[in-house]
Amino acid sequence: MKVTSILPRVSLTHGRNLGLLSTLILCLLLISFFSPKYLSIDNLLVVALQVSFIGIAAIGTAYLIIGGSVDLSIGSEYALCAVASAMVARSLPSPLAWIFGVAIGALLGLTNGLLVWRVSISPIIITLGTLTIFRGVALRITNGFGVRGVPKSFATFGQAHWLNIPMPVWVLAVLVSLAHMVLQYTRQGRHLYAFGGNREAAEAAGIDGKRLLLVCFALNGALVGTSAVLAASRFGSAAPTFGAGFELDVIAAVILGGVVFTGGEGSMVGVLLAVVLLGVINSGLISIGIDPHYGQMVKGLALVIAVTLDQFTQEQQERHRKKMASLERASTA
């Protein structure tokens, strides 16, 4: 038996990743056929930069959904972290402002986690509430306007390059790799899958579900904060309208990436592929010269097709299992 087979992956995940990869390659080929310069290094770096903000946040959302929860307020967290960071940068050194933005994110995430843990309603409802609250706070502290008077040094983080690759892409690459390893190789990752798969069973096995959930929420907030600080820093400032609809893009990417909304299934590889695929569809349509509004439709369609295929596969497996079970009973009777 292969040692790797103990990992909580299922054929569904492998199938999904393969499907995503082939769709991605197909898209790239199609786009480059109509727009040959799309596959240039410079353009691909731009695409990578565009997807990195959603990608960083998608890591946290993937963890939460695998663990059987979700945070809908990430768009508002994103706005609040961005404006808070930019506002602090006016009076404090920029590095402190960046850290502040990430810390605020962790705090907002932890708040959501505590509410979700304590109040036994769906996390969707709870975080729908905090989505509105956080957005309100972001609008209130800025009076609805973009933050002005941010020093130039604030932009040095988001606009930095290393080996010609933009900072946000590096951050995404490092964080996604770490997140993948934690999920696949550590007890914490295994316990997250267990908790998302069957909460009661995980806790009966001695897993501290509360701690797991709170850490995931705080981590998710910190990742959203990181993404927001990178965006604000790249932009040189921030506005309270940042990240409107961000949660929908992120959750769509995560689900398209093979994370099952009911928890317990999914991989970082799939999520990364889905994030990249959606980014390629977006930018590709623009570079071919198709109305970008079609991009919305194509992305939505991709999600609907993916989950429908999932459902059909599961139903087929279920039928197969029932057939086997009835055969087993027939043979023993």
């Binding site: 040692v3 299922v10 316990h191 998302g196 069973a201 009966a204 023993t332």
Partner: protein, 262 residues
Amino acid sequence: MSNRETSRPYATPVIRGVGITKYFGGVRALDSVSLDLMAGEIVALVGDNGAGKSTLVKILSGIYQCDEGSLWLGDVKVSHLTAKRAREFGIETVYQQLLLCDNLSATANVMLGQEPVRSRFGPFEIIDNKRSVEQARRHIAELGIELTDLSSPVRRFSGGQRQAIAIARATVKAHRLIQFDEPTAALGVRQTQATLALIQQVAARGIAAIVITHNLDDVFAVAQRVVALRLGRITLDVPVHQTTREQVVACMTGMSFQRDAS
């Protein structure tokens, strides 16, 4: 304490409950229940719905705390048994709904919460997969379970196989007592026999076993002792060979068998 027990085949009970009483609001779910559990002994716990079987099991696994009475773990008196303490002492429960993670492999389920660690990075503990598979395989083999594919998610397994995986997991952690909650309720004839054989395997390793059941066939097939609960009180606690189905039923339902028999 051990002096009083010298007549028993095993000197000291692994677990002993003395006068355990539990209230839910005004309802007395358990009424001064006293029970000794010996290593390697299979005790069938029978009783009608609401007799207090589940309450007793939950007290022994530390999920509920008793309001009166005391628990002895070996020769240590424990006034407040928590779930953590019960686990550490080596008490596990195999619930009727099995509490398996359907999305994880058989190996991952058997080793859940007990994964061997290869190395650490800060707070992160890297699972030693090789050892994990070996240990799970050993626990499964020791029970005489035949499972060919340990790497598929357990949702693909049949009811009997899932039961076996749940029992194997309990044996990874429990070395004192395993409580089986209606282990055969959802199983066919052959799987029932296989499961009862597993329970005997568990007991043969010196682990005490409590089997909650509604099925008197199970009682007389595996148990050495039968304990009947009725309305929170113990109405029968005898070796199986000293009783009959009729007496067990009478003690469960409160019908007048005992008067007729005596």
